[in-house]
Symmetry: C2
Subunit: 287 residues, 2 copies
């Protein structure tokens, strides 16, 4: 693929933003990459590592002349960022994001994107335990899925450009309606986090004759609850931004748990074995 | 430690039973080890590997002259096994087990153990993904906890012998009341399994515009739900044998989840951050 972006701006040069920059540079599809962020230290690190060519802590100044702006910051702050940079955008500029919630972000960002510019929602399904530009690497998206969430308002040329960039970054691009994305991720990502947090909370506050039951946990419990060590602020934001879909997922889970509880309570041996077997089949099916 | 058991019988020469045999032989605290089980192939494997010195598929015959019998078979079948072997036990024989549920097993086995013989409940907190005698190894219990669950009826000499054996096998031995054990493991082990099964069941049956949402899962979901690939029959038995404690744990969890759901529903940003932060602190505290 030949060079398709002269000036790319990355707002939030962390694991995702930094890896996107590295991957596109290696693919030879961008000329100049500008990194924008709040942390001077992180930006200077990104500059010294060659991830970006220029840095700025001022988004209003930094986005000038960009052909494409990739926003990779906490989900709650993405629409406000679009609002902040709107007046500085060059005509034809494409804005895209990497937020893990889509419906509210896409609706707000489409509304806030100025006429003559374009917004395309996106969500790369990749990540590691680490954060910051130093943790980024060019192959993070290799073979991973990147979901784009176009709407009736999405410009087909802008969609095509964003799609080509993710493809150049190594991702398998697919697209779906923003609300459909959110309902899927409520089930497979947001619900498990909520369940893990609730489980650790319940076990941590359980009163078994005054003893700290957590002191008896072993590797199995640690593995199962690893995601409850995730960043509370990030998951607060995701839970609130995907509230309706997440509440429906929680209710679906609660119904399953109530069904299972009833079979235990009734001593329904066959019913229990059936329930566990069906669940095991679902689980083994994703290996 | 000098040799303390002339003739040890292991009923169920799998990962736990086989590893117990190997560890005690390496420690030099047993002379002869007899392996009993239903699978001829597994027993012959154990014999050829030198885990046991003699094998038998007939518990009634196999336990004769044993000084100590270790029962490591599915929890639901332990009391019936004690009943089966009761009439064949030599005077003074000690029976102990490795079941992960204790109250019902201890009550039943104490009742079924003949006068002049002794029962001591136990639960070694160790394991791997693998099963069968070939998967066993002498260091499985090294530094791991083994919980013994004596009652008012437990013979102190028998308790001391079982405790010394587990110590010789490398375990850190502690003791607690059987019901207390079951309430702790309902929280830290049985509840997480039930929750994982319910989660996978809910996500697997979720209808998001007719799409199979499991096809979008990545490593995080796989890790979180690994325990839902456990043996359904084993977890059916555990759930039924520890029913009361498990139901209480499920209810405690449901209360936590309902609290979290309410904070999401109300858009309680601070309350959500607080809940997630408390859970994260509990989780980080067990690392």
């Amino acid at each position: 693929m030949s060079c398709i972006i002269d000036r790319l701006v990355i707002i939030g040069v962390g694991l995702i933003g930094g890896s996107f920059a590295r991957a596109l540079r290696e693919a030879g599809v961008v000329k100049t990459i500008v990194g924008i962020g709040r942390s001077r230290a992180n930006l200077e690190n990104a500059l010294s590592l060659g991830i970006v060519d220029e840095i700025s802590q001022n988004p209003v100044e930094g986005v000038r002349d960009a052909q494409l702006v990739f926003i990779s910051i906490p989900v709650c702050t993405i629409p406000a960022m679009v609002q902040t940079i709107a007046a500085s955008l060059a005509p034809g500029c494409i804005i895209t994001d990497g937020g893990s919630v889509k419906a509210e972000i896409v609706t707000e960002c489409e509304r806030l994107t100025p006429p003559g510019c374009f917004f395309v929602g996106g969500h790369p399904i990749a990540g590691t335990e680490n954060t910051g530009s130093a943790a980024s690497f060019a192959t993070l998206f290799n073979g991973k899925r990147c979901i784009l969430t176009p709407t009736k308002r999405t410009d087909s040329g802008a969609f095509d450009t964003v799609s080509r960039l993710w493809h150049a970054a190594g991702a398998n691009v697919c697209s779906m309606e923003p609300g459909h994305h959110d309902r899927i991720f409520a089930e497979i990502s947001h619900l498990p986090h909520v369940v893990a947090y609730a489980l650790v909370h319940a076990v941590g506050t359980a009163d078994v004759e005054g003893e700290n039951v957590l002191s008896y946990t072993a590797g199995g419990f640690r593995d199962f609850t690893r995601i409850a060590s995730s960043d509370p602020a990030m998951w607060r934001d995701i839970a609130l931004m995907n509230r309706q879909a997440l509440l429906a997922s929680i209710d679906g889970f609660s119904t399953s748990l109530a069904e299972l509880r009833q079979r235990i309570d009734h001593g329904d041996s066959q019913g229990l074995a059936d329930f566990f077997t069906i669940a095991k089949q679902f689980r083994d099916g994703i290996l």
